[in-house]
Symmetry: D2
Subunit: 128 residues, 4 copies
């Protein structure tokens, strides 16, 4: 799916994200190439990737575990903590994208569709 | 950060993702607007958002919990399961993006930097 | 409540866990019999049981997800929430005990040994 | 192992949990004393304890993350992995017991009641 997404984007003349690779499709390609070059795809079953994603999500929770809500809001002011937070965000995103790649899911489209549905399920009150 | 990212994208003339809103910045804006319109930002502390992310990640694991690796590879062939998987992927991504928005983290940049670091930490053997 | 449970047990002269099965070994036997009678042991690999345990732990987190620390301290005052909390505690304990049963781990002994180690690792300051 | 533990306790004529503290109530007292002596109760809100429990549960999952079902069944044969597994089991149990202590929940009673309910919800077929 990432290949057809890529060619569809090019065919339409869109740059589809920044040229230096900061778009989802490019990151998915880098992640897939990284795993393939090290022969790691054997481990990347959807079940294992979902488990890995949940493990990384917990590592993100762990950073905040004993912090008060106020301390958690200021976490990026601490250089060491900020680096850990960005590292775990990267890990969560990495496993989410690899999970989607293996199952052929377009994560951004799935989220866009979900927001559409939620806008219907949780309408804003009139007069707000 | 999402605002400067947006104006930077416009200033450079890049479409930075598809015009129908399927890029990370647009999704973050939709999520933020959705929460603001319902006065939900009060709940969106980084600590709560990290916990919510881990809860959704576990809901994704739950779909695969009793499946064999073979069954998990074929999960998208079952219409009901496929819908649940896409739904949980959307939820995980939603909380990850909202978490990043609140803390001013660029998730795609964080992942790109992480892959750079990993390529150094886990070099591929010569001749491979 | 743990103190009244303990004194109730002593006052009645009961031994080694209560005769109605409220000790860990008896619960493990009931859980094993329950699974065996329904032919569910095939699903109870250590990997699956660990995943199931993490899923239930997340369901426990979910109850508190949007609560403030103050609201979370009063959660047992709400009948519906209290029932959910007890239900998830039971589920977490169930999977933990089944996990231990399958791998031959004595959970109480493991914890006792860990507390011993921690008392060495985190000594209390003199004069405290 | 749970059967031999039980018979060892009975054969020695020991009562209400072993005198060296291997019962739930004794472990809860040791955990509470450990936290109080270090002034850690301030961190032990139900919400934080639930999050800590989920983090430890994920650390248990992590041990099995890339293992096949067959490898996971043999994990206790590897000394290093076995020690990690016992350590995480202890951590999960520790936070579960502290969570229950703070909220006044009897974990064993909650599980016993749940098994009773499940025996009604999932009856075994006649003739089995």
């Amino acid at each position: 799916m990432s290949e057809s997404y890529e060619s569809e984007r090019r065919a339409g003349g869109r740059t589809g994200g920044r040229t230096d690779g900061l778009d989802v499709a490019a990151l998915q390609r880098r992640l897939a190439a990284f795993a393939a070059a090290r022969d790691w795809q054997q481990y990347h079953t959807p079940k294992n990737l979902a488990a890995a994603l949940s493990v990384e999500a917990s590592e993100l929770v762990e950073i905040f575990q004993w912090l008060t809500p106020e301390q958690s809001a200021r976490v990026m002011e601490d250089e060491g903590k900020a680096a850990r937070v960005e590292d775990e965000v990267a890990d969560v995103l990495a496993y989410l994208l690899q999970f989607c790649e293996v199952l052929g899911i377009d994560a951004l489209a799935a989220l866009s569709a979900k927001i559409d549905r939620n806008e219907g399920r949780f309408p804003v009150n009139g007069g707000r």
